[in-house]
């Protein structure tokens, strides 16, 4: 067969491709010409860029270098052309690190809002940088690390204590009896499984806990909304046998009861979860015991 360039996206070849498919039913056409396709894609994006004027905005980013600890933390300004940049704050951060300042330090991984690495304070609110759209109308966007956390460097907070608190609530299934031989699944009704919706999706990004004023003032003893959400998730899991003990572990003035229903947590959760409500449910269950 003649080597026609059959680019799938090219409408010019679409008609001729169908004709060829009918006439050559025994052979499979599978030619890819990546160079040509790449050319069309590149010209398309260059074309759209050339039509827009550069839209330059300022990013004020918190900087602190642990190698020079005497230097005070300060806000450094960076100019970014939003028309040559992806739509999310993380895109701008990566662009700055690639093109302007390679020393800018931040955590990132999945770029799709599921790993929780890029949690930071953007224009006053805690969210994930990969999910936060750059405000094209604001002249300046402020980026800070998560509030009231020890800073490792620039936008990277020290989450060691946060993880320790998570470990302390024993976030795993605990059964009274070992499973019998041959029994492999822990059965759960659909209604019981529904109770876990809105709880299991937590990605432990720490946005909620670091938005809570109570956690700011008492992070050493108060567990914080993220950890308490998970505590509740295990408490109401019908497959878990240790709900009573889990509640007893929280019977002290600090672990749960520093929560004063400020509700900053629910407002800021980038995954749309409701830790405030979960904590209120824990308090209710503990009160009724």
């Amino acid at each position: 067969m003649s080597l026609l360039a059959l680019s799938k996206n090219s409408s010019f070849f679409r008609v001729s491709r169908h004709v060829l498919e009918i006439t050559t039913c025994n052979t499979r056409f599978l030619t890819t010409t990546p160079s040509q396709k790449a050319q069309t894609v590149a010209s398309a994006s260059a074309g759209s860029n050339a039509n827009k004027d550069p839209l330059v905005k300022t990013f004020s980013i918190y900087r602190w270098n642990p190698d020079k600890p005497a230097e005070k933390p300060h806000l450094q300004q960076y100019q970014v052309d939003l028309n040559a940049c992806g739509p999310m704050v993380l895109d701008a951060l990566i662009k700055i690190k690639n093109e302007q300042d390679a020393t800018l330090t931040f955590r990132r991984s999945c770029r799709e809002g599921i790993c929780g690495s890029c949690a930071m304070n953007i224009s006053g609110t805690n969210t994930l940088a990969c999910l936060a759209k750059i405000d094209r109308d604001a002249s300046n966007t402020k980026l800070y690390p998560l509030p009231h956390m020890y800073v490792v460097k620039d936008l990277v907070p020290d989450l060691t204590h946060f993880y320790k608190q998570y470990k302390s609530i024993e976030p795993f299934l605990k059964k009274e009896t070992k499973p019998k031989a041959g029994e492999r699944e822990h059965y759960q009704s659909i209604a019981d499984r529904k109770k876990l919706d809105g709880l299991y999706e937590c990605i432990l990004c720490a946005c909620c806990s670091t938005s809570c004023p109570s956690y700011w003032w008492n992070s050493d003893e108060y567990l914080g909304p993220a950890v308490l959400l998970q505590a509740y998730r295990w408490m109401i899991d019908s497959r878990d046998d240790y709900a009573k003990q889990r509640r007893e572990a929280l019977q002290n003035p600090f672990s749960v009861y520093r929560c004063h229903t400020i509700m900053n947590c629910t407002k800021t959760c980038p995954k749309g979860l409701n830790p405030g409500r979960a904590i209120a449910m824990i308090k209710k269950e503990m009160a009724l015991e």
Binding site: S123, G124, T125, P147, P213, M263, G276, A280, K283
Partner: protein, 117 residues
């Protein structure tokens, strides 16, 4: 704290605590002053107080009424909001904001009402 975006959530919560403190100071202060007025010769009885306040200019009377009425009313209505939360209701974002605005609205109206009587 200085960088976090002002939001109804934590601003109303902070105001609840502040108004609580103000009310505590007023009630405790008033009660203690009344209790120890003998040796101090304060003369805190209703007639004397009414006569004193009547001599003040209207603007001061209004300011005084406002500064007593608003904390009391705000703290009371927000207290009810907290009690609703304790039952497990209105704990969604929508619920928090709706009840929040209701409390602010009711507080303003009640304060105005109390100032004008």
């Amino acid at each position: 704290m200085t960088i976090y975006q002002p939001q109804i959530t934590w601003y109303m919560s902070a105001s609840h605590r502040v108004t609580g403190g103000i009310l505590a100071a007023v009630f405790y202060g008033g009660a203690i002053a009344y209790a120890i007025q003998g040796p101090l010769g304060l003369g805190l009885n209703s007639d004397a107080l009414v006569a004193e306040i009547a001599t003040l200019p209207t603007s001061l009377k209004l300011i005084g009424k406002f500064s007593l009425a608003f904390p009391f009313v705000y703290h009371s209505f927000n207290g009810v909001r907290h009690l609703i939360w304790d039952t497990g209701n209105a704990l969604t974002l929508k619920g928090v904001y709706t009840t929040g605005y209701t409390v602010l609205g009711l507080s303003t109206i009640s304060t105005l009402g109390l100032c004008l009587i």
